[in-house]
Symmetry: C2
Amino acid sequence: MKARVTVTLKNGVLDPQGKAIEGALKSLGVDGIAGVRQGKVFDIELETADKVQAETSLKAACEKLLANTVIENYRVELI
Amino acid sequence: MKARVTVTLKNGVLDPQGKAIEGALKSLGVDGIAGVRQGKVFDIELETADKVQAETSLKAACEKLLANTVIENYRVELI
């Protein structure tokens, strides 16, 4: 079973990397960009075919390693 | 208008960062993970409300800066 975990910064948390990308796009002549925020995506292959078990593993993975839940949100999608 | 750009490594391209995450999850006791590949996600705010114009800007942004098209795929979703 496959899953995709998306980790994004919470609203209100400063994102200097996103700001830098926004500036770089402007200087490269890409118009119409009002804001950029960067996040991370993890494509995870799971051994189990059981949805509940997969979700439990993924939640543990996010809480323990993939996301810093103080400043980041995460979303798990099973594919 | 908002958009999400997802950049992932192409199949066959080595992902040492993903391998490291996989190892870390194993040593943290998260079971059932068979593989991890890491990518990037960009949440972009656009000034225009025109879909075609938005897609053109986003394609330019991806080709010029956000993705290395030699080793990475990108996907643009308008939200």
